[in-house]
């Protein structure tokens, strides 16, 4: 198997995730897009780990999974808080800046 298969797949997922970050208004949707990005990176790591026969890639991927989980937890807690205070999690409405 071409390693490029996995890498390109990862690139595609990454770009879709980027689009999602940019395009989505709902805060939760943005977090989901970030998950996509993280997963694409994970795929990359695993692919390279398989390519080089190294175990470091797997280790890294595990760490990323752990970090992503923590990040989602904190992020959702924040979204919850925002929702409680502002009654909305639409990023448009949350911005208080005048420009």
């Amino acid at each position: 198997m071409l390693v490029n298969n996995f890498l390109l797949l990862g690139a595609v997922l990454f770009c879709i995730g980027v689009y999602g970050v940019i395009a989505r208004k709902n805060a939760v949707m943005v977090l989901m897009s970030i998950e996509l990005i993280l997963n694409s990176v994970n795929l990359n790591f695993i692919a390279f780990s398989a390519l080089h026969g190294n175990i470091d890639g797997n280790t890294m991927a595990l760490f990323i999974i752990g970090v992503a989980a923590a990040e989602v937890g904190v992020g959702l807690a924040m979204v919850l808080l925002i929702y409680r205070n502002r009654k909305s999690i639409s990023l448009d409405e949350l911005s208080e800046m005048k420009g």
């Binding site: 198997m1 071409l2 390693v3 490029n4 298969n5 996995f6 890498l7 390109l8 690139a11 595609v12 997922l13 990454f14 770009c15 879709i16 995730g17 980027v18 689009y19 970050v21 940019i22 395009a23 989505r24 208004k25 805060a27 939760v28 949707m29 977090l31 989901m32 897009s33 998950e35 996509l36 997963n39 695993i46 692919a47 780990s49 398989a50 390519l51 026969g53 175990i55 890639g57 797997n58 595990l62 760490f63 999974i65 970090v67 992503a68 989980a69 923590a70 990040e71 989602v72 937890g73 904190v74 959702l76 807690a77 924040m78 979204v79 919850l80 808080l81 929702y83 990023l91 448009d92």
Partner: protein, 175 residues
Amino acid sequence: MSAVILAADDIQVAQNIGFGIIAAVMVVGALKVVTSKNVVHAALALVLVLSGAAAQYILLGAEFVGVSQVMVYVGAVMVLFLFGVMLTRAKLGKETDLDQPKAWVGIPVALLMLGVLGWVLIDGFGDERLPADASPKAVVEISDSILGPSLVPFLALTFVLVAAVIGGIVLARKD
């Protein structure tokens, strides 16, 4: 099972087809995540993507990571997401405006990025193939790595997780 897959010939047609199907499912799912009008639909599409990713990991011989992916991401993170969706939705059903007014800005950025990445990858890794005789990684190697050279990152990760838990509780408690 992996031996069966890996015992095939060089071209490894079966892996390729398997990869192709799973990749297609993942891409479609990802697209559904970023374009769906329904938040729950987007969440479920994300589950699809994550599952597909786990399958890919197993295809690549990272079985432990794959299983972990399923357990953590699909099992816990997605549940978390769904809880979040549930707790922050005003009403159920279709929501009309999930996209930014200027959502189209993301397309050129994404395409640009795709272009750059694609070109770099093709140029860099042109015809490299995964080693045909690769065996699935043993879990003991992972544990050796984590508790050995990567001990410090591991411990840091524990701190991160503790901080995240505490933070989450602090943030979300009702005062």
